[in-house]
Symmetry: C2
Subunit: 345 residues, 2 copies
């Protein structure tokens, strides 16, 4: 299985997850309700940290649960871990191996908190340290750059959110995600052609906001891991607080801007970047106005509710990163300097 | 007052703050104890968000308080704000004007939470929305790039931490910060000479970990605002999860690596970046081994406890950014595309 195969496998893995893990999501939601959790204390790194960024918005907007992102070095390097009273302590990790993430869950358990592992390895140290385990069942991920484990982590987090709300509408929308991704994958050859234009791009920024703040981070991470370009992610709000100054004519701005609550603010900023600062725009959206602004446009299927756009939009970003890697003459299967499991302490 | 003047004014502003605001810190700490706060819900943007990153480590390590970073767009764009039971809701903002930060405090008050504003504008909308106000008393900040309001925000957060612990040792260490910064400022001309080497640098990464994760973010932000280079901040732990792949020979890596709990892991990574990946290193430290690795070394005064190094180390980063701006022929007083108060909604 190559990286490209694993990107294309995503509709099937997500369909599988929806069929087999709804009960797990319901059970986890029931425990969270029973324990009167006040907030979530989340530990993750890399791609899984970006899944956590999605949960930060989704569980906030749909379930009214604030999320504190753990600082694992407080647990491994500094004397006293924080008091975690009334927190759900959650670790997200494909491999379940990272010692610093495991140590956060162990501390949560020691303090009597409810603990949850979201992982592709149900026998891993992380799963063993947790009261509750959500197995994302993505199958073996051979490529070093994570793709299907990202979207299955997002799906797991979205399923728990739906179970917490108990809203049948949410489940009906979730069921459509595999087909939306399959539709997006029909643009594979178009995206391959589009990526050629960026053969000599050395740097870019990646913008997203709200639910798609996570998508901006994950798209940027794939570009850094695979193509070695400097790709810096921002929320469009933070971007206006300073970094926007560095955009000169021709500077590439990649943006995730589907229709929804934050669309108008994204659209205004992208129009300004294009018209006043002569930026180059690469845009993922389902809105014709913003797609028309862009030199390179990747189109989302129509009708995806905003909260589910991150599961579909990132697949366009993955294809773009995969094809750009090949266009630059690099090997998608052997990115330099990174390994599948990074053991940070 | 120019940017350079405001950088040099910092010892005096911090000395002033220590003399005049200890009682304010004690009163805020007493309220936090009285209300049995479980965690902190923090809203901030830009430079003030970096001050929040410092609080995330300091209040975690010294006061065992977890911090959830607010997602202000949940309050302004999405329907339901999170439930904030048992949270201290805190806003940090130089101007106290940003509507999205104010809306987080208003919601906190509406839900009956204790609310705290840390600001340079005690009559601002943010201060008016809060139960408790810590006025950082930095005086008017004329330069568009924030410097003295960053270090006074850090000092305010460190004073509240010391008051929460009630530790006399903490206060004695805090009293020394103005002198440490004054000592560092004697390297001003050396740093000006050193910055010349980076006249044509177009991109870099900035690394820090633990308490100095905040310093890496703030140093990178100053470089982006003032010199328009692509400067991406990372914790050294996250950097190993992928982005390290992009470092090639001569790639500039800026690092904040003082002695302390995370020093060893930083030192190992920097040695590897220099020896195996031929990176160019610009290092702020008080450790001779890591300074000897660097092509460009900025020396911290000896004896600063790790938790206070961020207040001193950032001043070296500010001087570096200021002198590099001039070396590149830009105007430190008129950075393009940013304004002092950014009204994100």
């Amino acid at each position: 299985m190559s990286l490209h195969d694993e990107i294309r496998e995503q509709p099937e893995r997500l369909y599988h997850l929806l069929r087999h893990q709804r009960q797990t999501a319901e059970k986890i939601a029931a425990e969270i309700h029973a324990r009167e959790v006040n907030y979530v204390f989340l530990a993750a790194r890399g791609t899984s940290d970006n899944a956590g960024r999605y949960a930060n918005y989704l569980w906030g907007a749909h379930n009214r649960l604030p999320i504190a992102l753990a600082t694992p070095s407080l647990f491994t390097y500094y004397a006293q871990p924080p008091r975690l009273e009334k927190a759900l302590v959650m670790g997200v990790s494909q491999s379940g191996q990272s010692p610093d993430i495991v140590s956060v869950l162990e501390e949560g358990r020691r303090q009597g908190c409810l603990t949850l592992a979201v992982t592709n390895a149900p026998n891993s140290p992380l799963a063993q340290a947790a009261d509750l385990v959500f197995d994302i069942q993505a199958g073996p991920e051979k490529a070093v750059a994570a793709t299907k484990t990202y979207t299955t982590e997002l799906m797991a987090l979205a399923m728990i959110s739906a179970a917490l709300r108990g809203a049948q509408d949410d489940w009906q929308a979730l069921e459509k995600v595999p087909d939306w991704i399959a539709t997006l994958l029909t643009q594979d050859a178009d995206i391959e052609r589009m990526a050629q234009r960026y053969r000599y791009m050395g740097q870019c920024v990646v913008l997203g906001r709200g639910f798609n703040y996570a998508t901006a981070f994950e798209w940027a991470l794939k570009l850094k891991e695979l193509t070695y370009i400097i790709a810096e992610p921002y929320s469009s709000a933070d971007f206006q607080h300073g970094p926007i100054a560095m955009i000169e004519g021709g500077f590439p701005v990649l943006a995730v801007a589907p229709q929804g609550k934050v669309f108008h603010s994204m659209f205004e900023m992208l129009a300004r970047l294009r018209e006043q600062q002569q930026a180059e725009l690469v845009v993922i959206s389902d809105d014709e106005r913003v797609l028309a602004l862009a030199q390179s446009a990747m189109r989302l299927p129509a009708g995806i509710p905003e909260w589910l756009t991150p599961l579909v939009a990132i697949v366009a970003g993955q294809l773009f990163a995969c094809h750009l890697t090949r266009a630059k003459g690099y090997d998608t299967e052997k990115p330099r300097s990174i390994t599948k499991v990074t053991e940070t302490h």
